[in-house]
């Protein structure tokens, strides 16, 4: 038992990423503030990055593909947030609110 606690393995990192991903998912679904939902979406990307880096460290420590892909994911996450804020700001100029429930015409 002490070995499982003090010997940090891939399992520990996967559990941490799973908890962070779940919290981010809850934030995206439950938040009524658009900005808070977008911040929660970044938690999802951070959880995925932890998985990438942990797998690269424990399984693929020669080629380090997970490390490289994690860098691409960080760039994509930043771009996604910028685009989301741009769209949100353009919508905000029309509606003047940050409440998700006021943007019902986006349902299609």
């Amino acid at each position: 038992m002490a070995n499982l606690v003090f010997n940090i393995t891939l399992f520990h990192y996967l559990i941490l990423a799973l908890i962070l991903f779940t919290i981010g998912l809850l934030g995206v679904i439950l938040s009524k503030n658009i900005i808070k939902a977008l911040i929660s979406a970044e938690f999802l990307i951070s959880a995925v990055n932890i998985n990438f880096v942990a797998f690269a460290f424990f399984v693929d420590s020669a080629k380090l593909t997970g490390f490289i892909f994690s860098i691409f994911t960080i760039a994509i996450g930043a771009v996604e947030l910028a685009i989301a804020f741009a769209i949100f700001y353009l919508l905000f100029k029309e509606k003047k609110t940050v409440n998700i429930n006021d943007y019902k015409e986006l349902k299609g």
């Binding site: 003090f6 941490l16 809850l26 911040i39 970044e42 951070s46 990055n49 420590s61 994509i76 930043a78």
Partner: protein, 181 residues
């Protein structure tokens, strides 16, 4: 078990606790500025997790992008949209909350079960398997080789994507401004 392993585990549990608590406080905070501050703490703690995994390259990028750049973007978004504060905007307390919580618990239990099942199939899940430990120079060299040689086209694609998005957003904003004027 040597002292380095114990120190690593202590740092890991500390960072994990900070990540989980701050992520929860991000969602549960009523003021959006507090949410942003807790989110910054989460992003920095994730960077420290990267450093524990010998990924200093990723940790520095995490600190620079998620620790500094994205919070500045979010802070500007808050400043642009905060002239009309709506105190009622918090969490969606309704049937959606209960359904989402139940779904989240099922999601966690399912993935935890999958992890436990896979631990009996693959033997590296519970053992700190690191057959090849690279030193700092080799790690940097390997990442640079992968980034600038092996994944060169992906890197160029990302750069092109960022460029297109910046130009597209600028032209979109200009177009919108002309229409409003």
């Amino acid at each position: 078990m040597n002292s380095a392993e114990i120190l690593t585990s202590v740092i890991f549990y500390l960072c994990s606790a900070v990540i989980i608590l701050s992520a929860l406080l991000t969602i549960l905070s009523k003021r959006i500025m507090y949410s942003l501050i807790f989110a910054i703490i989460v992003f920095f703690a994730v960077g420290f997790i990267f450093m524990l995994l010998n990924a200093e390259y990723n940790a520095i990028i995490q600190f620079a992008v998620y620790g500094v750049a994205i919070p500045i973007l979010i802070a500007f978004a808050l400043m642009f949209t905060s002239y009309k504060t709506d105190k009622s905007i918090y969490l969606a307390f309704s049937a959606r909350l209960i359904l989402t919580l139940i779904s989240a618990i099922l999601f966690v239990l399912t993935l935890f079960n999958i992890l436990l099942i896979s631990s009996s199939v693959v033997d590296w899940l519970f053992t700190s398997q690191s057959s090849l430990i690279l030193n700092k120079y080799e790690m940097f060299n390997s990442i640079s080789n992968g980034l600038y040689i092996k994944s060169f086209f992906a890197l160029e694609l990302i750069a092109f994507l960022v460029f297109v998005i910046i130009v597209g957003f600028s032209s979109l904003t200009l177009f919108k401004g002309k229409r409003n004027g």
